[in-house]
């Protein structure tokens, strides 16, 4: 059962994003579109980390799986943009399942390192097959290929609307997931694994399922990134892109549905603002990570939920 206030809040956020489109300058239209795509990625990360308690340092691999499935599908195999958007989440989910089958035999710190290592191997694999992936230089998807029907997705408004559509779908599914019986089991696994086992839940399958769903989200975001922004490069598969969703989720609030979007929005503009003032934007990322774990480990919405709004999903 979904609390009415919660449903209303999430619909209101979606309505605001849609209503904002005609009022935004072109620069911000691009930015918000990018933020919405990255927020889908972070939502996926949050399903693993925030709800299930799986702190992965290798999600860039799942993002990249969607990204390259879409990018190479279009550029090498003549896949349509719509087809790429379907292939992306499948690839992300598959990658997460494969990694999970092995990595979930470990837990805690070992899980973090194993996922980091697998993602590093994935990143190197992209560099190794430079002939097909074009490595660091990356694939630029031709404008003509970035269209669904006759709609040109490289233009500001359609790209915003496509990003919005994917974001809205992801957000509402996320809301439904965490309020479903399975959502409750994910949280139970995070809170007390030994207890959950003695309630008859197999920790391995629960975590694997959550990780797979998380990978589907990451893959969907990767494919959306490829189609909407037309660029697919190895840097998007690097460690930094595994840390990014962690940062967004920590800032917005782990284990909250809107947290990833809020975190992505604030962090994106903070970095955007900082890099116009100084070149040292990594300072901001580093300082933000440390300050968050020190002083606000529950993030903005997590703290809000604890103090004022327990109904917040």
């Amino acid at each position: 059962m979904i609390d009415r206030r919660a449903l209303f809040l999430h619909l209101a956020v979606l309505a605001a994003l849609l209503a904002a489109l005609p009022m935004l300058a072109a620069y911000h239209v691009t930015n918000i579109a990018k933020i919405m795509v990255l927020a889908v990625y972070a939502m996926g990360y949050n399903i693993a980390f925030g709800y299930t308690g799986l702190l992965s340092l290798g999600h860039a691999m799942f993002f990249a799986a969607g990204l390259y499935a879409a990018g190479m599908g279009i550029s090498l195999f003549g896949l349509s943009a719509a087809g790429a958007l379907v292939l992306g989440p499948v690839a992300g989910g598959l990658a997460a399942t494969l990694v999970g089958l092995l990595a979930l035999r470990t837990a805690g710190v070992a899980f973090m390192i194993v996922t980091l290592m697998f993602a590093q191997a994935g990143y190197l694999t992209i560099l190794y097959f430079v002939k097909y992936t074009r490595g660091d230089e990356g694939i630029v998807i031709a404008r003509a290929a970035r269209a669904i029907g006759s709609v040109d997705l490289s233009a500001d408004t359609p790209r915003y609307l496509l990003a919005f559509g994917i974001f809205a779908l992801a957000l509402l599914l996320n809301l439904a997931l965490v309020r479903s019986p399975f959502g409750r089991i994910m949280v139970a696994m995070r809170e007390n694994e030994a207890r959950s086992r003695m309630l008859g839940y197999n920790p391995y399958t629960v975590k694997l399922t959550a990780l797979a769903v998380s990978g589907v989200y990451a893959g969907a975001a990767g494919a959306a990134y490829a189609v909407v922004f037309g660029y697919v490069g190895a840097s998007l598969a690097s460690v930094q892109y595994s840390i990014l969703p962690l940062l967004y989720v920590l800032l917005g609030g782990a284990g909250t549905v809107l947290g990833p979007f809020l975190g992505a929005l604030l962090m994106f503009y903070l970095i955007d603002y900082a890099s116009s003032a100084t070149s040292a934007y990594l300072f901001i990322v580093g300082a933000a990570l440390i300050l968050l774990v020190l002083f606000a480990p529950k993030g903005i919405l997590g703290t809000l939920r604890e103090r004022h709004a327990r109904w917040l999903p």
Partner: protein, 304 residues
């Protein structure tokens, strides 16, 4: 060159890299063994040691040998101080909770990297070797400095071993490792031990870096490789076991250096499809699989 000479050269290069790696990885292993902290910023302490060595060498007057020795003393101290500060200001306040600590050290990694870029710039910074003579081996001459690096590393590791097993400091550290609460009850200042261990771990990385800069040059992005290699070493050697760490460092350091030298000779296809990148992919996967299937490492005993 003859095959025998090539093998000897590869062996020497492997030993140089293994000895530096052993020092770096022991720092990581020490911190993990005693504090149960996985320090992702370890590579940046290495990098910091290297750029500070350049700074010292280029700022201090006097012959290279003197400035280098100065760097060998000063850099680990500065890096150790930075680490101790990070421990007291951040890690201690997180109560060394494993996941929060890793996230914090990731933050530290970014800050140190960006700090080095801002202060020292993006260029590779050379440091002159303090020794300038070559040893003649059958078929090739070899840098005397590199031999000195191997010897220095062996001495430092012996020193570390003596500190840990034969001194009161080592005893206090081991007591803290076994049981924090009991150590505290016996009047050990656990906070100070932790800050000290974290500083010592970082200092070891810094010493390793100072030793390597005359060969490799200092650069703000140089921390990534030692970090990944040290992780691999510590995992293969068995988490927290210093003996395993040294053995694994020897193995990985040798393999890492010998493959690019030796493989083209014995394996003509090397470089065509079997590239260094592929070797790295395989190595990374192997390490990950070891952690999955043998978390006690290849040399460690399985805990009950």
């Amino acid at each position: 060159m003859q095959l025998g000479s090539i093998f000897l050269l590869a062996l020497l290069e492997g030993l140089v890299s293994a000895s530096v790696l052993a020092l770096t990885a022991c720092g990581l292993s020490l911190v993990f063994g005693i504090m149960r902290v996985v320090n992702v910023a370890h590579g940046e302490f290495f990098m910091l040691g290297a750029v500070l060595a350049w700074f010292t060498a280029s700022l201090m007057p006097g012959p290279p040998a003197l400035t280098f020795v100065a760097a060998l003393v000063i850099c680990p101290l500065i890096v150790g101080a930075v680490a101790a500060l990070a421990d007291m200001l951040v890690l201690k306040r997180l109560n060394y909770e494993p996941e929060a600590t890793i996230v914090a050290t990731i933050g530290l990694l970014y800050i140190l990297q960006q700090g080095a870029l801002t202060v020292f710039g993006p260029n590779a910074l050379p440091v002159p070797a303090p020794l300038d003579f070559r040893l003649q081996f059958p078929g090739f001459g070899y840098s005397g400095y590199k031999i000195a690096v191997i010897l220095a590393a062996v001495l430092l590791l012996l020193g570390l071993w003596l500190i840990l097993t034969r001194t009161r400091i080592g005893l206090v550290m081991r007591a803290t490792q076994i049981d924090r609460a009991t150590a505290r009850a016996f009047g050990i200042n656990v906070d100070r031990v932790y800050a000290g261990v974290f500083a010592m771990g970082a200092g070891l990385a810094a010493i390793a870096a100072v030793l390597i800069v005359p060969i490799q040059q200092a650069h703000y992005l140089m921390g990534a490789d030692p970090l990944l290699l040290s992780f691999s070493v510590v995992i293969i050697g068995g988490l927290g076991s210093l003996r395993g760490t040294v053995v694994a460092a020897l193995l990985i350091g040798m393999v890492d250096q010998m493959i690019p030298i030796f493989m083209p000779v014995v394996f003509p296809a090397y470089g065509a499809w079997f590239t260094p990148t592929l070797a790295k992919i395989i190595a990374t996967l192997v390490v990950a699989l070891v952690l999955v299937f043998r978390p006690q490492g290849l040399f460690g005993k399985r805990m009950a």
